[in-house]
């Protein structure tokens, strides 16, 4: 069983590696780089939502926080190694604190949604309002809605003059995504990952087994924050500017759309979803006939209504059916809250149960 998982992961990595080598001959590597970065961002939400059952409306916060941490540190330090690490560590720490606050308060789905959404807004509003010269960290002016431009982009560690850019940066991002993917796979196969999935399935049971559910959810949430932070750091180096738009609700919505369309409960799904939709957005942006927002809104509504499992798992299911596997009708009933319909009925039964 574990061997099968391992072979599958290896196959994905090999295919993705080959795709990465072929990619630049089809689409220019500058565009491909940002698709990879968005893929990583989607992976971060795909992990905590699809495997941990934690719906975060504010994944953009960690993305933006990673980018700003990197930009501010790079402006001050001028060499990219420490800023790069800070771009991962600061979102991780913030996600850990935010997660601890929510999970130790035993907040459920909707309230989690509200709080993550509100935190996104707080960051967005605050960063937007920092245009004045009094908002400065070291040498870095926060710059409000103008953002922070002109910081040191990624360089070979120890040599600030040796920039990693263009095709090298593309390969760097591609390999980074593969490494993150492999690490997340490993995490999910570990006992920690098994327990995380069990928590998604039935939080109460896992708690009654003696596991500290609150702590584990907090850690998973923080890992998601760190991955989103890494993608933000790479984005900063790619765009060479960071702006408050990275914290916006629109950005959060996009991440959610990537995951839903690609498919929850897989890792490949969100990554592929992000790349495909981000490329679609790029293409739509080149014409002015159809509004991009309209198309994305339509995609989201239609996928919630008609594609309860997302594209990648649905394709996998079709393949399995053709090979004569059993129907997965029951599992299709699992909503995006990550729990089976049966569990919900039982919740209802519990409420009516004897005191």
């Amino acid at each position: 069983m574990v061997g099968g998982e391992f072979r599958k992961t290896l196959a994905v990595i090999v295919v993705a590696f080959v795709a990465m080598l072929i990619g630049p001959s089809l689409i220019d590597s500058y565009t491909l780089t940002v698709l990879i970065i968005y893929g990583m961002l989607a992976l971060s939400l795909g992990l905590i939502w699809g495997y941990g059952g934690i719906l975060c409306f504010g994944q953009a916060v960690f993305f933006g926080l990673g980018a700003y941490s990197y930009a501010i540190a790079a402006t001050n330090i001028g060499e990219s190694t420490v800023p790069f690490l800070l771009g991962i560590a600061i979102p991780f720490a913030f996600a850990f604190l935010l997660g601890a606050m929510m999970f130790y308060g035993r907040l459920s789905d909707v309230y989690l949604g509200v709080i993550t959404l509100v935190v996104t807004l707080i960051f967005y509003k605050f960063v937007n309002s920092t245009a004045g010269p009094e908002y400065v960290i070291g040498n870095a002016r926060l710059g409000g809605f103008n953002g922070i431009p002109g910081f040191q982009t990624l360089n070979v560690p120890g040599d600030p003059g040796a920039y990693i850019y263009d095709i090298d940066f593309y390969y760097f991002c591609g390999v980074a995504l593969l490494v993150v993917y492999a690490l997340v796979r490993w995490l999910l196969a570990s006992p920690f990952g098994r327990v995380a999935v069990a928590i998604r399935e039935n939080e109460q049971r896992v708690e009654l087994m003696g596991y500290d559910v609150r702590f584990r959810k907090t850690v998973l949430f923080a890992v998601g924050g760190a991955i989103a932070g890494l993608s933000g750091t790479l984005f900063a180096s790619w765009a060479e500017i960071v702006t408050p738009g990275m914290f916006s609700l629109a950005q959060s919505a996009e991440i959610i759309i990537w995951c839903i369309v690609g498919g929850l409960g897989t890792l490949v799904g969100p990554v592929v979803g992000a790349m495909a939709l981000a490329y679609l957005k790029f293409l739509l942006g080149q014409q002015s006939l159809v509004d991009t927002t309209l198309v994305f809104g339509l995609i989201l509504v239609l996928s919630v209504l008609f594609l309860p499992r997302g594209v990648v798992p649905t394709l996998g299911l079709l393949g399995r059916k053709r090979r004569g596997g059993g129907s997965s009708r029951r599992r299709a009933g699992r909503g995006r809250s990550g729990r089976g319909r049966r569990a919900m009925q039982e919740d209802a039964a519990k409420e009516g149960a004897d005191v």
Partner: protein, 237 residues
């Protein structure tokens, strides 16, 4: 000290309703005790105060001499307490084996946990469905899977809330055998409605009524008690 579980003046109020009213309860090592009582008598609330799913309004709970009042369920479970809830609480999307393995993995390494899970599966005769997804199993099977989860944690104190509910007669018999077998190593508290089932396993019974302990005696004595019959038939005691 041979008492493994004790409550002193345990009280649970919901708004104006007192569901559990100053209950003093005591359980001996390796004892098997049934809690019975009509609907709304406070059995399940009392049970949830023991497991940490509810925080009592007043009074104290001691498990193995340590005060556990207001602890979280995972802390209670870590003392070596196995808990089975009223509605089967299992991980529907995972296989039977994974469900049980997870319980064993908390205290044992990967391989060791695999052996423990295999033992529990054999003990509960779940071998033929070990690799099935739990969400697809029947109610009785799910009840047994949950018991398997409890066993795999190797508890010395087991709390079972209506383990026989919704099972066929045959399944109930089998459950009774399993419980008697478990009782060799662990003290057990069972909340139950089914009198037939209680007769087949119990020695001592505690009767709840209106949040209080009405009586506590040998199973036969309880069955013959007029007051208990009145309570069950709905007359004012």
């Amino acid at each position: 000290m041979s008492s493994v579980l004790e409550t002193r003046g345990l009280t649970m109020r919901f708004g104006g309703v007192t569901a559990v009213d100053t209950v003093d309860f005591n359980l001996q090592r390796k004892e098997l005790r049934c809690l019975i009582g009509p609907n709304g008598a406070g059995k399940s609330t009392f049970f949830k105060c023991l497991t940490g799913q509810l925080k009592p309004s007043d009074g104290q709970v001691f498990i193995d001499g340590a005060e556990t009042t207001g602890w979280d369920p995972h802390q209670v479970a870590r003392l070596g307490v196995g808990i089975k809830t009223q509605v089967p609480s299992v991980m529907d999307g995972l296989s039977v084996r994974e469900n049980i393995w997870l319980a064993a993995n908390r205290t044992h390494g990967r391989e060791q946990a695999r052996h423990r899970a295999a033992d529990a599966i054999e003990r509960l005769d779940l071998g033929t469905i070990a690799n099935s997804e739990v969400g697809r199993l029947s109610h009785g099977e799910r009840q047994r899977v949950e018991l398997g989860i409890v066993i795999a944690g190797e508890p010395w104190l087991i709390l079972l809330d209506e383990p026989a509910a919704g099972m066929t007669a045959e399944e109930v018999d089998r459950m009774a055998d399993i419980i008697v077998d478990l009782n060799r190593e662990a003290a057990i508290i069972i909340v139950e409605h089914d009198m037939q089932f209680i007769r087949s396993i119990a020695r001592k019974v505690t009767v709840f009524s209106q949040g209080r302990i009405l009586m506590e005696d040998d199973v036969d004595a309880v069955m013959q008690d007029q007051q208990v019959r009145d309570v069950y038939l709905g007359k004012k005691a």
